[in-house]
Assembly symmetry: C2
Homo-oligomer: 223 residues x 2
């Protein structure tokens, strides 16, 4: 019975995710599902990306957290349209939460929508939100063994952002071993080394986001 | 129906947790459920604690991970009795997993059992494993806002270990604001500032573990 219920929940989620995907496509919005551990720098990456792309694309954010609205407030102070979702204990966002948030955003004014998932490397992997692609962030203090320990998320990523490179001299993180482990799981993903604090590497990441948006729109227009 | 199933699962878990608790008590073992984000230093803290207490207490470890046996191997290389549990995607240990592990440990040779839960600040909070107490580890690069974002775990902790204090000069972590936030949630917990890398603060933490073991045994003997 447990398994049956879980299947029902996932089927219902997938249906709503499909509706979200269609709605986002009709509005020409590229949605990025951003996943990482707590404190690896999702919100800071979003802030840096907006700084970098503010003259090129209109960016909005859906913020997922177990409780509190700290991150949405941070983004709001920077003038970014952000909606907070509290899962009330749940360890991931689901498609219906995202659907409610979409109803509260001015979709005609958005090119890129970041969906900042709840901070953890496990549960978010199981739930389609209707996003266009998934990006995983890993910060160097978390250690280079994470692809082995949490393979699902790393396999699903279209891009991996290694954050807090400014801390590399102070932590034990073997970048070469890490890259080998990650590429073993996921050959095709783009890999970016950035520091949210110094801004290092943000330019390349921002360029990739814009290129990906352009490709998506060219594809959609060709249909 | 979903809610009913969840309640059944939790009831079943609580029953097995109670059996674990009785078994551990009958063997005079103090079990510590260790919870944190990925990469905040659970395994390193255990290694340091064993170094510190090896002449005073016999320590064994149950290692929980989604996949891989990296941590159990690390502990095994250091000569520590460790059993790996892979949850196969699950975001927390449950009482029945711990029960299976207990059957494979030589319980007569253990004073302290560390149960290293799956790395995440959400799901482990909902599942009693039959432990005597819970300890949360937070590493400084994760940021000082975590008690607000993940209140449940911080409320349950009998002790909180702030790890990676060696990185304090390089990260933005306001120790005073953090302590205020944490004490607001949980006045009674012990608080330790440690560095798994330099060994700073490990002595105080080890002393607390031994004192807690002694108190537990005095209580049990008085019954």
């Amino acid at each position: 019975m447990e398994i049956k219920v879980l299947k029902d929940i996932l089927d219902a989620n997938n249906q709503i995710a499909q509706q979200n995907r269609q709605l986002l496509a009709s509005k020409r919005i590229m949605a990025i599902n951003l996943m990482s551990s707590p404190g690896s720098g999702k919100t800071t990456l979003i802030l840096r990306t907006v700084e970098q792309l503010k003259d090129k694309a209109r960016i909005a954010v859906i913020e997922g957290d177990v409780s509190s609205s700290i991150d949405a407030e941070k983004l709001g102070q920077a003038g970014i349209a952000a909606i907070q979702i509290n899962t009330g204990g749940g360890c991931h966002l689901d498609a219906s939460m995202v659907n409610s948030a979409l109803l509260n955003l001015r979709l005609d004014d958005i090119d890129i929508l970041f969906i900042e998932n709840v901070g953890n490397l496990i549960c978010p992997g199981g739930f389609d939100l209707g996003e266009y692609l998934r990006v995983v962030i890993l910060s160097t203090p978390e250690g280079d063994d994470k692809p082995y320990k949490y393979p699902l998320l790393f396999t699903q990523a279209r891009a991996l952002v290694v954050n807090k490179t400014d801390l590399l001299p102070h932590v034990s993180f073997d970048l070469e071993a890490f890259t080998r482990a990650f590429k073993g799981l996921n050959q095709d993903a783009a890999l970016f080394l950035v520091s949210g604090i110094t801004g290092d590497g943000i330019k390349d990441w921002g360029k990739w986001v814009m290129d990906t948006l352009r490709k998506l729109r060219t594809q959609s227009d060709a249909k």
